[in-house]
Subunit: 210 residues, 4 copies
């Protein structure tokens, strides 16, 4: 089934399924969307689904992978040709926020994926990759002395975590208006950038007793 040869019509069908499934998953979640729902929405029999996809899980993974890939591509496009690693990172952050603002369904998908044990490791892997992308810039900044020294992967995860959380809280279904926070990108950038830049020392923290 992996390498079925599809006719033109078949290619169209496959794309239809992907499109419908994307919408339904984003709206109703993974377990909330049944294979039957997808087929009903398309007005086709259930057999069709299994003609094009091995399983519901496989379809979802494909969707997820392509979403993460698109995100990564948007980030790459945004930083192309920029010299200063700090600026590269900030542009990546802003591009990510724009990405999710443009299609909140993509966020939904990732969030939903993270919700289920079956996909958690998948999402994790994706996040590691994106973090590694960022870590490269961090390392460069560190060696230039413009970014505070530290574990680059860890710092990258800090950025990622803050970023996703911002987006989730302010673009998620729970929140009132998806467009209401145009300055979100500025605030997120400021928060994350300060977190990694070379900077003044913190006040002393009393030692914990544990």
């Amino acid at each position: 089934m992996g390498a079925r040869k599809l006719t033109k019509r078949g290619i169209k069908r496959r794309a239809q399924i992907i499109g419908t499934a994307f919408t339904l998953f984003a709206e109703q979640g993974y377990h909330g969307t049944t294979v039957g729902d997808i087929c009903d929405a398309l007005g086709v029999g259930k057999g069709v689904f299994y003609w094009y996809f091995e399983s519901k899980e496989a379809l979802f993974k494909e969707l997820l992978q392509s979403s993460l890939f698109q995100l990564r591509r948007a980030q790459h496009a945004a930083i192309e040709g920029i010299e200063d690693p700090r600026v590269r990172i900030e542009c990546g952050i802003r591009a990510s926020i724009d990405f999710f603002r443009a299609d909140p369904g993509l966020l939904s998908l990732i969030r939903i994926a993270a919700r289920y044990e079956e996909f958690a490791s998948f999402v994790n892997r994706g996040q590691q990759i994106i973090a590694s992308d960022t870590a490269v810039h961090l390392k460069e900044g560190m060696s230039r002395g413009t970014i505070r020294r530290g574990d680059p992967q860890l710092m990258a995860h800090g950025i990622l975590g803050a970023l996703f959380h911002f987006v989730e809280v302010y673009f998620g279904t729970e929140s009132e208006s998806h467009n209401g926070r145009p300055q979100l990108a500025d605030e997120a950038a400021a928060f994350c950038m300060q977190g990694i830049l070379e900077s003044a020392p913190l006040p002393n923290v009393p030692p914990r007793l544990s």
Copy 2:
């Protein structure tokens, strides 16, 4: 069912169920853990479960609520009597990390809860509360001029997001060793604190074309 009178034996049983359920939920997820699993693990009939809890969902919510409550309590305890709001925040961060390091099951539970539509709003509410706690200190720091001006709630969510993500990536079930990152607290604190402190300006970012 609201206010059953429990004997000593009953109280013990209830606690047993809570303990067993906690472990199983943390290991196998919510849907992955059946009421039957819990009862089997205790060697009791299924009716017992429903003697003490209204439903599986009710039990899970109780577990979740108490976990969030414990987290908040740990944070409060850690910052009691500290004068400088910046220090209060940092101590809160460190206390949170210690909290999850001490019992990774608690993180599991919260993560799992966030995974399901049924509990998402519950977790969201909890996060808003914790963010609001932090926002208080941020506001104070802003008025003292030691913390950069900005939307306190938003900044608080930045901290929360980074924090949870750190913990998730480094203490989560996916990761190799739960104790392997003792310096995580330092790095997390550094990242988050810099993100909010008053500081030098960023380099100019070229305007996006969109």
Copy 3:
């Protein structure tokens, strides 16, 4: 368990259970009322119920039997000393309607009993007895020539059926007001009495072809 000796307190308890159960059964039906409901309503443990009654079914049968017995007693009382069998029958009809009007719970109980396979034969037996009571008067009327000749038991069932149906339709929970049909007794009596009295011939009915 059949012949437990009860203390005064025990007798009171037993009566309490009967009273509460009567109300609950009448309101919520047989399967709709659990042993737990009854005990909760009394604020006692479930063990109590089984101290006084062998089973839920046994209690219900006891309730039912006593209701049917009361109905029969009311009928007997109403016709005592009346000479004309036609008048005896009519008085019985009126007394029955008054009986159910006075405590619609009794009707509920009988209706509910008839609803369940477990009690249907029980109710049937009760109805046969009541029908037989009536049949005696019918026979007497027939031999006096004041009541139309026919199968007395069958005619008695006609009366019974019409009577119960009237009461059910007009006093049942579905109906608007329990007191709204004071003339129901007159109409029911008229209908049933005419059905049995000696009378003019019917018009010819064309023979069915079947």
Copy 4:
């Protein structure tokens, strides 16, 4: 699920399920018949049931509705073209008795439906409709002076009640022989018809003291 397209095979299956369910419900009652029973009797998996019916309750309602509809149709067919309203009524009565004699399962079904709160209102509505059918003829007879004046709906319920009770007592599962009462129709007709015809006055009834 509303409007599944069924193939020939599907139509056959659906009919099989209806037939089997009808028999089982009539024999074992509603709660006494499980979805599993029905599927087992057909040798199919449980999913099949839910492919054709939304729920057990929905199937039962369908069965019930169609039974009541058939009864009404039989009554209409029996009285078509008859001039005298009295004769129309009597023919309706005889047709009803024949109807239930022919398939006692239909009576079972209605009785069973009346047994459960879920369906009681359904059955009640059906009875009101049938009573209204009859009331039309009664009114006509009253205006012609051939039927005694009175509340037509109430009189119609009298007929209905007597009729159902006759049938129940003599065709019900409890009774010995279903064919043993061929003259039942005559007696029932006589009883009901006399109950409504214009006729001689009743003897005086002594006033009740209450």
